[in-house]
C-alpha cells in the first residue's frame, strides 16, 4: 500500500473535526513548547504526554496531531511530533492491547519514514500512566508560566541559582507559601529555571508542594 504525506517538513496541528471531538475525551490547553495555538489531545494519555515532554529539557519543540498520512483510501493521523536534541520523532499513543491491531499500519509508516530524518515511536498508555504524577505536576508549572509572560525574572533567576549552589533546598525555602504574592518572582524564576533544565525538581512521586526538593542539575 502506498503511503503519502503532504507536509512532512512542516508539522502543524491539524484541526480536529467537531464531530470527532464529541466522541472522545478531548483536552485543550496552552503549552510553552507549542506556543502558536491551543494544543488538542484526544485522550488523557496524549495530554499527560505533553506534561512529560514539557518536563524534559532535552525536548525543544512539540506539535500535537502533526501530520495526515494517506494510506491507500484511508488516512492516519499520529498523535504527536517532538524534537529532542535535533532528532525528530513521530509518536503514536495506544494501550498495549491497542498496539496489537496496529502492526500493519505501523510497519507501513516506519517503512515510509526510513529514508527521512523522522523516527516512528510507539508509547504505551501504561508507560505514560506510570509517570502521571510527574506529568500533572509539569502541566501545573506550564500553566503558571503561560500566565506569567509579562513578568521579567532575569535577576531573580541568578539569585535563586546562587542560593542553590552547593545546597539542596525545598520549594518552601524559595517560595514563601504564606506570602505568595510577595514571593511571586522567586516562584516564576524557579519554574523557569526548572523548565530550561538548570534546576531539578522532585516531581516524580508527589504533587508539587512546599516540601518538593530542589537542586542544581549536574
Amino acid at each position: 500500500m502506498k503511503v503519502r504525506c503532504k507536509n512532512l517538513d512542516t508539522p502543524y496541528q491539524h484541526p480536529t473535526r467537531r464531530g470527532f471531538k464529541t466522541k472522545v475525551d478531548c483536552y485543550q490547553t496552552r503549552l510553552t513548547k507549542f506556543p502558536k495555538e491551543n494544543a488538542v489531545a484526544h485522550c488523557i494519555h496524549e495530554m499527560l504526554l505533553w506534561g512529560i515532554f514539557e518536563g524534559d529539557p532535552t525536548v525543544n519543540y512539540l506539535v500535537p496531531q502533526p501530520y495526515l498520512f494517506y494510506m491507500g483510501t484511508k488516512t492516519y493521523q499520529p498523535d504527536l511530533f517532538y524534537m529532542r536534541n535535533g532528532q525528530r520523532f513521530i509518536v503514536e499513543v495506544k494501550s498495549e492491547a491497542g498496539f496489537e491491531g496496529f502492526t500493519e499500519r505501523s510497519e507501513l509508516i516506519t517503512e515510509f519514514l526510513k529514508p527521512t530524518i523522522y523516527e516512528f515511536q510507539h508509547i504505551t498508555n501504561e508507560s505514560i500512566a506510570d509517570r502521571e504524577v510527574f506529568a500533572r505536576n509539569w502541566l501545573i508549572i506550564v500553566h503558571t508560566l503561560v500566565t506569567a509572560t509579562n513578568i521579567e525574572t532575569l535577576h531573580t533567576e541568578v539569585n535563586v541559582l546562587d542560593r542553590l549552589y552547593g545546597n539542596d533546598l525545598q520549594v518552601g525555602d524559595i517560595v514563601d507559601c504564606a506570602h505568595r504574592i510577595d514571593s511571586s518572582l522567586n516562584e516564576i524564576a524557579l519554574y523557569r529555571l526548572a523548565h530550561t533544565g538548570k534546576v531539578e525538581l522532585d516531581l516524580e512521586h508527589e504533587r508539587l508542594n512546599s516540601e518538593t526538593g530542589v537542586r542544581l542539575c549536574r
Binding site: Y27, V175, I181
Partner: protein, 632 residues
C-alpha cells in the same frame, strides 16, 4: 419456630473467637461509625452474660433493639454462614429481599412486594430475553426496538403470556399490570449495561481514572440544566397589567471538586445557552458575590453563606488547573476554548454519555432541584409515561418574577457553601477552601496581578478601509458593522492592517492599535446600533431578524424588541424580550413606539383593500331594490 440467638451461640462454641467479631470502624462511612461501635459493644456485653434490659439501659436503647442486634448477627446467609460482624454494621441490607408469600392473584389479592423477583426466579429465560432486548436497544442494533417504558412493559407482558403464565396472577392481577415495576426494571437493566460498558472502556484504556483533584481549583466542573421554575413577566400596555408565563431558563453552575464549593452560577435567559453564557459563568468564578435582596420581602441569606471571593482576597489571580465540561457545542466554542486557555486552564470536554465523570456538579443540581423542581409524579417524570398524576392531586407551583427567582437561587446556592457536612471533613465548603488557601500553594496567575482579567474582551485584526470615491473618514468593517471615529482620519492608512480590541458585551465601540501595539484611537459603530449597549449575541439575532422580516425603522434593535413584545403569546418570545430589555436598559428607560413604520404601512394597505372589496351601502341597496331615496 425461630431459634433463639443464645441457643445458636451455645451450639457453636467456635464463635467465642473474638477475631470473628472485629469491625474496621475507620473504613466505614462517618455516619455509620457511631452506631456500629455501639452495636459492637452491645454484642460483646450480651455474649459475655449481660442482661438485655441492663445492657439496653447502659447504651440508651430499648431491650427490643438489643434483641434485634443479637438476632441479626446470628442470622445465616444463603451459604449457611453466620453474619457475625457483618450484622453489626448498621443500615446494611444483609439479605436480598425475597418474596416468601405466594404471588398475588385476582381471587386473593395481596401486596406486590418483591413480585418481580419471584417471577424472574420462576422464568429466568424471560428475564434474559428482556435483557437482550435492552442490550440491542443500547447497541442500536438494526433489529432493535425503540424501547420506551410503555413498549418494554407490553413486551414483558407478552413474554409472560407466551410462557403460559397464569393470567390471574401478578402482574395481571393488578389494574396497572405492574407498569411502574417494569419501568424501573428497564432503568435498572440500562444502568447495568452502562456500568459494564464503563468498566470495559476503562480496561481497554489501560488505567482507571483517578480523582487527582488534590487541591482547590484543581478541577472545576461546569454544567447546566434547564430549571423547572415557573416565572412570570409583568407587562403594562395601555393601562392593562398582564402577567405572562416565561419559558424555562438554563442555570449554569461552576463547582470545585476538592472543596465541594459552588464557585459561581449564572441564569441564562434562554433554553439554549451559547458561548457567552459559558464565558459569563467562568468570569463569575472570579467575581461572584452575594446579591442584594431587593425584590423579595423577608428573604435573607443564611449566616455564613457566601462565595469564594469572600474568603480569598486574591481571587482575581487564582489559576484553575482543569475545567471539565460536557461536549455541548456551546462549550466547545472557540471563544470559550481560547479564553479558558488564556487564563492557564486545561479544558476537558468529556466523552458523550458519561455524566458520571462530572458527578459532583450533577450532585449540585440535585441539591438545587430541591428548590426548583416540582415533585415527581408517582410514575416518574419520563415524557413517555402514559400514567400521570390525577389533575386534582397535581399542585400548581407558585409563580414568581425572574428577579425573585434569581434572589431565591442566590440564597439557596450560597447556603450550600455554608453547610457543614461530614463527608467534607466536618467543615463547610467555604471553611475548607479558606483553610487550603492559607496552608497550601494554590496556583496563581501572576499576569493578572496588575492586569484586569476580562473574558469578554477579544482582539481581532482588520484592514483599514477608505473608498477612493467617497471622501469620508476611514473605517473598519467587522461582522457587517462599520466603525468610524474622529481618532482615525488619515485616509493614507487605507489598506493597513491593524488590530483592535472589542468587548463582546458592548459592541458599540472598539479600540484600535497598530500591529506593534501603539494605540491609534477609539472608533464607534454606525448610528443604528449606537443608542443602546448591545452584546454580540443580541446583535447577531437582530441582524437575522432584519434579514428575515425587514424593517424601515431607524433603530433595528427597538424593532426587534417590539416584535418580541407583540408576540406575547409565545413564552419563548417573552423570555427573549426580557433578556434583551435587561441588556439594553442599563440606566435608561426603554420606549417602544406604538408600531413599526413598516407594520403601519402594511396595515393601511390591508384596510384599503378591504374597503375596495366590500360594495358600498348605496350599491347594496340598489341590488336589493330599496330605491335610492331610502338611502338617506
Amino acid at each position: 419456630m425461630s431459634i433463639n440467638w443464645k441457643q445458636r451461640y451455645a451450639e457453636n462454641p467456635h464463635l467465642d473467637n473474638e477475631a470473628l467479631w472485629q469491625v474496621d470502624i475507620s473504613s466505614l462511612p462517618v455516619r455509620k461509625r457511631k452506631t456500629t461501635q455501639r452495636n459492637q459493644n452491645i454484642c460483646y456485653d450480651m455474649r459475655h452474660g449481660g442482661v438485655g434490659r441492663i445492657v439496653a439501659e447502659n447504651y440508651g436503647v430499648t431491650p427490643q433493639q438489643v434483641t434485634y442486634v443479637m438476632q441479626r448477627v446470628f442470622s445465616v446467609d444463603e451459604n449457611g454462614e453466620f453474619f457475625l460482624s457483618r450484622g453489626l454494621i448498621t443500615g446494611d441490607r444483609l439479605k436480598k429481599p425475597k418474596r416468601n408469600a405466594p404471588l398475588s392473584t385476582k381471587a386473593k389479592p395481596t401486596n406486590a412486594k418483591c413480585c418481580l423477583g419471584a417471577v424472574c426466579e420462576a422464568l429466568p429465560d424471560w428475564l434474559n430475553e428482556l435483557f437482550q432486548l435492552v442490550l440491542a436497544d443500547e447497541r442500536r442494533d438494526p433489529y432493535a426496538l425503540n424501547l420506551t417504558p410503555q413498549c418494554f412493559w407490553q413486551l414483558a407482558l407478552a413474554g409472560l403470556k407466551a410462557r403460559d403464565w397464569p393470567l390471574d396472577t401478578w402482574p395481571f392481577s393488578h389494574d396497572t399490570k405492574g407498569y411502574s415495576t417494569f419501568r424501573r426494571l428497564l432503568i435498572k437493566l440500562r444502568n447495568q449495561i452502562a456500568k459494564e460498558r464503563s468498566n470495559l472502556r476503562k480496561t481497554l484504556e489501560g488505567i482507571h481514572r483517578k480523582d487527582l483533584a488534590t487541591m482547590p481549583f484543581d478541577e472545576v466542573q461546569i454544567d447546566w440544566q434547564v430549571c423547572d421554575e415557573i416565572c412570570r413577566l409583568t407587562t403594562e400596555c395601555e393601562g392593562d397589567v398582564v402577567d405572562t408565563r416565561l419559558e424555562r431558563c438554563c442555570l449554569l453552575v461552576a463547582f470545585c471538586v476538592k472543596t465541594r464549593c459552588v464557585l459561581a452560577w449564572h441564569l441564562a435567559l434562554t433554553r439554549n445557552p451559547n458561548h457567552a453564557d459559558i464565558l459569563q459563568v467562568i468570569d463569575n468564578i472570579f467575581r461572584q458575590r452575594k446579591r442584594t435582596i431587593r425584590v423579595t420581602p423577608e428573604l435573607e441569606h443564611f449566616p455564613g453563606a457566601d462565595y469564594p471571593v469572600s474568603v480569598i482576597p486574591e481571587m482575581h489571580m487564582i489559576g484553575i488547573n482543569t475545567i471539565s465540561m460536557d461536549n455541548a457545542w456551546a462549550n466547545m466554542a472557540r471563544a470559550v476554548c481560547d479564553k479558558a486557555c488564556d487564563i492557564g486552564a486545561l479544558i476537558r470536554f468529556g466523552k458523550g454519555n458519561t455524566p458520571l465523570d462530572r458527578n459532583f456538579v450533577e450532585s449540585v443540581f440535585y441539591y438545587i432541584n430541591g428548590l426548583t423542581h416540582r415533585q415527581a409524579n408517582t410514575t416518574g417524570s419520563h415524557p413517555n409515561d402514559p400514567i400521570k398524576e390525577a389533575p386534582k392531586n397535581a399542585k400548581k407551583p407558585p409563580v414568581v418574577s425572574i428577579q425573585s427567582f434569581q434572589e431565591l437561587l442566590d440564597v439557596w446556592i450560597s447556603k450550600y457553601n455554608a453547610d457543614i457536612s461530614f463527608h467534607n471533613m466536618a467543615e463547610s465548603p467555604l471553611q475548607r477552601l479558606e483553610q487550603y488557601y492559607r496552608t497550601q500553594p494554590i496556583r496563581l496567575s501572576h499576569n493578572f496581578r496588575h492586569q484586569k482579567r476580562d473574558l469578554f474582551i477579544s482582539e481581532h485584526r482588520a484592514k483599514i478601509y477608505a473608498p477612493k470615491k467617497e471622501l469620508r473618514r476611514p473605517e473598519i468593517h467587522h461582522q457587517k458593522l462599520v466603525y468610524r471615529g474622529s481618532d482615525l482620519t488619515d485616509r493614507d492608512l487605507a489598506g493597513t492592517e491593524v488590530k483592535f480590541r472589542r468587548d463582546r458585551r458592548d459592541i458599540r465601540s472598539i479600540e484600535v492599535f497598530t500591529l506593534k501595539g501603539q494605540y491609534l484611537g477609539k472608533l464607534h459603530v454606525q448610528r443604528a446600533y449606537l443608542e443602546y449597549p448591545l452584546s454580540e449575541t443580541t446583535y447577531l439575532r437582530v441582524k437575522a431578524f432584519v434579514k428575515k422580516y425587514g424593517t424601515k425603522s431607524q433603530n433595528p434593535v427597538i424593532a426587534y424588541l417590539r416584535h418580541h413584545f407583540l408576540n406575547r403569546e409565545s413564552t419563548r418570545s417573552q423570555l427573549e424580550f426580557l433578556r434583551v430589555s435587561e441588556e439594553l436598559k442599563g440606566q435608561k428607560t426603554l420606549f417602544l413606539n406604538d408600531a413599526d413604520e413598516a407594520t403601519q404601512e402594511k396595515e393601511t394597505e390591508f384596510v384599503e383593500r378591504r374597503v375596495t372589496n366590500v360594495p358600498s351601502i348605496r350599491e347594496l341597496m340598489k341590488q336589493k331594490n330599496y330605491g335610492e331615496d331610502l338611502c338617506y
